[in-house]
């Protein structure tokens, strides 16, 4: 079995986010990026699914920090790592086109990606990619088991309702969570990979992304008025009287 995992870096929300001067995007100057946590779960699920003879290939678009990302995937146990070049980073549509072009060249049984990311809250990458490639797609997946010629996939709905799907392979799955917490890649192992392993490079054409949504404005949320702690019932009464309620 051949499993592809799509990885990408997203802004680290631990840092304070600022909107840049255009008012339409984040100021990336001071921003720190990290692996999208759902992609980390996708990678973990792929590694859990992949046995001795299976191949798990990690793919990422060219970009700052992505090499370390791919070496980390190798350190965790991925069989190969591929960086896609020749693509201008854009929205989910453009990314889907680029990945579709890269994946078309080899026959994967499963294509896993994170269900969403902080810059793709709608979780479009998976469905768009599936559409480009003409493959079935299930999103918000919390468990995968491969059967003969297909896969049984658990999907989570709002309110904790679970559904089970039978999917024919190949298929694209948007992973919500792996069956185990994503493993930690020891830095010594990542460093070792950086010295011994190579990241393959694959040039894909800069085909357009089709319909994209456009950001017209971006702003930090407005801070609500702060809460006031009252000492006793008398204070409460006073507030209520002041508001004309009592």
């Amino acid at each position: 079995m051949k499993i592809a995992v799509l990885l990408k870096m997203v802004p680290d929300l631990v840092e304070e986010l600022e909107v840049d001067s255009t008012g339409k995007a984040l100021d990336t100057e001071e921003l720190k990026f990290k692996l999208n946590e759902f992609d980390d779960h996708a990678l973990e699920e792929a590694l859990l699914l992949g046995g001795e003879e299976d191949e798990v290939v990690a793919l990422a678009l060219e970009g700052e920090g992505n090499e370390k990302l791919l070496f980390t995937a190798l350190a965790k146990g991925a069989s190969r790592a591929v960086q896609l070049t020749g693509v201008q980073p854009g929205g989910s549509g453009e990314q889907a086109t680029a990945f579709a072009a890269a994946l078309a060249e080899s026959s994967f049984d499963l294509i896993l990606t994170g269900v969403q990311s902080v810059d793709d809250r709608e979780g479009q990458l998976g469905p768009l990619l599936a559409a480009r490639m003409g493959l079935p797609c299930v999103s918000v997946v919390t468990g995968v088991s491969v059967t003969d010629g297909g896969a049984t996939v658990n999907k989570e709905y709002s309110g904790g309702v679970m559904a089970e799907f039978e999917v024919t392979l190949p298929a694209v799955l948007g992973i919500q969570s792996a069956q185990q917490p994503p493993r930690y890649a020891p830095v010594s192992k990542v460093r070792q990979m950086q010295q011994t392993a190579t990241i393959e490079s694959l040039t894909v054409g800069g085909a357009g992304g089709g319909a994209e949504s456009e950001v017209t404005a971006m702003a930090p949320p407005e801070v609500g008025a702060s809460a006031k702690m009252l000492d006793d019932a008398a204070a409460l009464l006073e507030v209520l009287r002041g508001e004309g309620v009592a």
């Binding site: 965790k76 830095v187 070792q192």
Partner: protein
């Protein structure tokens, strides 16, 4: 041993052995604990050492015609007197130990029920071994002692040079000469023949410690306690097999006398977790004994996690060094555990919560998962120099806990206010300081430790300063003992030492001294690892408080339970009481209401422990800087 990994202990061999022999002769390695037991051990030690000579003399007496010692002049008299007295010493000592192990059975000789034991150990092997060794010594020395009384009977009367044998004499004066002669021969054979019988068992028994312990002590580690061994093979760091350990740690198993002193002082064992450093050494030994030929032929390749120590136990260690410090034969069970951790972490086998913390340390440079830009948030309104931008005398490496932890930042601010009031030219690295990595290394994440250290060293190279100061003993240890190997050599000072300097130099005037008494908890990485015991005590007393020591103090201090990365891990399910809570109770038992610390992690641990153990009203946890701040009469600035 030959299968173990290389470790160079061949420097200054004569000095090493001379020192070890001297220490053994003084019985110094025992001195840290169990004074009563030590007296009886000393009896046996001197008695048995003298018996080497006694045995030689006895052999000569049997085989050299006319060789006798009774009534043979002052030299022989002296020899007889010593042999006579030492026989009784050994017998008394041995009876004490057998009584202790089989009658009084102190609980410290037992393992927690959740500790992994080799089947041989679980079947009572240690007790059986003790009985055999004890029985051998009793028979060997006892027969010789009775034998000399019989010889007196043959010689015809008591001898003042054999006082105790003379006491036995009346038992045998009525014996007929033929039987007497036979019995003398029998006691000779029991005394000396028994040695021949015992020789094949000797290397398998714990008794071999009398040979191996001095060697182990002589070949001990001479690098600083706080500097771990470098990784031998970066492609496969650490080890889960005996063959992968440095050879001196294989030798440890043979030196072990199975006294369990190490687990008596171990905070993990004491709090009910499945870790016993003692069981680790004993299990190693039993494994080697049981698989001697196999180990010799194909190597000690079996996974130690299967027979020597459970993974849970590996993750229970606080790396507090108490087991190594207390061990009378120079064993280092803690170092085995840290090698195991290196290997486990490299294979990704670790508690889930640890992975989270390590990820955060890798990505953010701190263990709190906070943006590293908030590291100097505590400096608000304090007007502290940025050491990256201007030269300072003292560069303050603040460290994770003092920077981020909410129970610590008030203390951190006070340190800054005291330094400012004392006119010290100091600064912090406002941007870019990362965790020093001391505990990252102790959970076994060697690569991350190196990465953190390299980034800090690079940053420090850009700053101009004379000395580095830190309040965190863990940080202190890493900067002082571990950074030099990576190219970062600095003069590092702990704030307790600096405070003494400033007080003595008059820069700090303690004009409003405090009153009352207090106790002080020695942080492991300040005390046991780096030998700083007096500075914090000096500060406390200069501030006017009377210091009341807890029973476990200075090098016998009891770890708060946070070291070795435990502060990031969940308590083990089997934990009966947290070490920090035991410590709070220990402080209350000496009648103090002030618990003083000199480590940010201790501040966190003990403020929590005072609450969780329900003693919040009775005892207050304070940092030594609180005293100085207060005795200087500083008005703090609100953050």
């Amino acid at each position: 041993m030959r299968q173990g990994q290389p470790a160079d202990r061949s420097d200054k061999l004569p000095t090493r052995f001379a020192r070890a022999l001297l220490e053994v002769a003084m019985q110094k390695p025992l001195a840290s604990a169990r004074p009563l037991v030590n007296i009886f051990h000393t009896f046996i030690f001197f008695g048995f050492s003298f018996y080497l000579l006694v045995n030689v003399v006895d052999v000569l007496e049997a085989f050299v015609p006319n060789w006798e010692t009774i009534w043979q002049g002052p030299l022989a008299d002296g020899f007889n007197l010593l042999a006579d007295l030492f026989s009784v010493f050994v017998l008394v000592g041995m009876l004490f130990f057998l009584h202790r192990r089989f009658i009084t059975k102190p609980k410290v000789l037992e393992f927690n029920s959740n500790v992994l034991l080799h089947p041989g150990v679980a079947a009572g092997g240690v007790r059986r071994d003790s009985l055999i060794v004890g029985g051998f010594i009793l028979l060997h020395v006892g027969s010789r002692w009775v034998g000399s009384a019989l010889q007196l009977a043959e010689a015809g009367g008591p001898d003042p040079w054999l006082p105790t044998a003379s006491i036995l004499l009346p038992l045998f004066t009525e014996m007929e000469p033929g039987l007497l002669e036979q019995t003398i021969r029998a006691t000779w054979w029991l005394a000396l023949g028994l040695i021949l019988l015992f020789i094949p068992y000797f290397p398998r028994s714990k008794h071999i410690h009398l040979m191996v312990a001095p060697v182990n002590l002589a070949l001990r580690r001479e690098t600083p306690r706080g500097a771990l061994d470098a990784v031998q093979d970066p492609a496969q760091p650490g080890s889960t097999t005996l063959a992968g350990l440095p050879w001196p740690q294989v030798l440890d198993a043979f030196a072990c006398i199975m006294c369990t002193r190490c687990h008596e002082v171990c905070p993990a064992h004491e709090s009910g977790t499945p870790l016993s450093p003692s069981a680790l050494e004993i299990n190693k030994r039993y494994h080697i004994n049981a698989h001697a030929t196999e180990v010799a032929a194909s190597g000690a390749r079996q996974n130690m996690l299967e027979y020597a120590i459970s993974p849970d136990a590996v993750w229970s260690c606080t790396a507090c060094y108490a087991c190594v410090q207390i061990c009378p034969v120079g064993n280092e069970p803690m170092h085995d555990i840290l090698e195991l951790r290196r290997s486990l972490v490299f294979d990704g086998k670790m508690p889930d919560e640890l992975g989270e913390v390590l990820r955060s340390l890798d990505e953010q440079g701190n263990s709190f998962g906070e943006s590293n830009r908030r590291r100097s948030k505590w400096t608000r309104k304090l007007n502290i120099k940025d050491a990256r931008k201007e030269a300072v005398d003292l560069l303050w490496f603040v460290g994770d806990f003092a920077s981020f932890n909410q129970s610590c930042t008030a203390t951190t601010r006070k340190v800054a206010e005291v330094l400012t009031a004392a006119g010290v030219d100091f600064g912090v690295i406002r941007k870019g300081e990362r965790s020093a990595g001391n505990d990252v290394r102790r959970v076994g994440e060697e690569g991350l430790f190196e990465s953190l250290a390299e980034q800090n060293i690079e940053l420090l190279e850009k700053c101009e300063f004379d000395r580095i100061m830190t309040t965190d003993p863990h940080t202190y240890n890493a900067l002082k003992n571990e950074y030099p190997a990576l190219g970062g050599e600095y003069e590092v000072v702990h704030y307790s030492t600096l405070l003494v300097e400033l007080i003595e130099g008059g820069a700090i005037q303690l004009e409003q001294p405090l009153a009352g008494n207090a106790t002080f908890h020695d942080p492991c990485y300040l005390g046991r690892y780096n030998g700083i015991y007096d500075a914090p005590r000096e500060v406390i007393e200069r501030c006017g408080l009377a210091l009341v020591e807890m029973p476990r103090n200075r090098e016998n201090s009891f770890c708060c339970g946070a070291g070795g990365g435990q502060i990031w891990l969940n308590d083990h399910d089997d934990m009966t009481q947290r070490p920090s809570e035991m410590r709070i109770e220990e402080a209350l038992s000496v009648g103090v209401s002030r618990f003083l610390v000199a480590c940010p992690k201790d501040m966190t641990m003990y403020s929590d422990a005072a609450k969780t153990s329900g003693h919040e009203e009775e005892i207050v946890v304070e940092d030594i800087i609180d005293l100085v701040h207060s005795a200087m009469g500083i008005e703090g600035v609100a953050a």
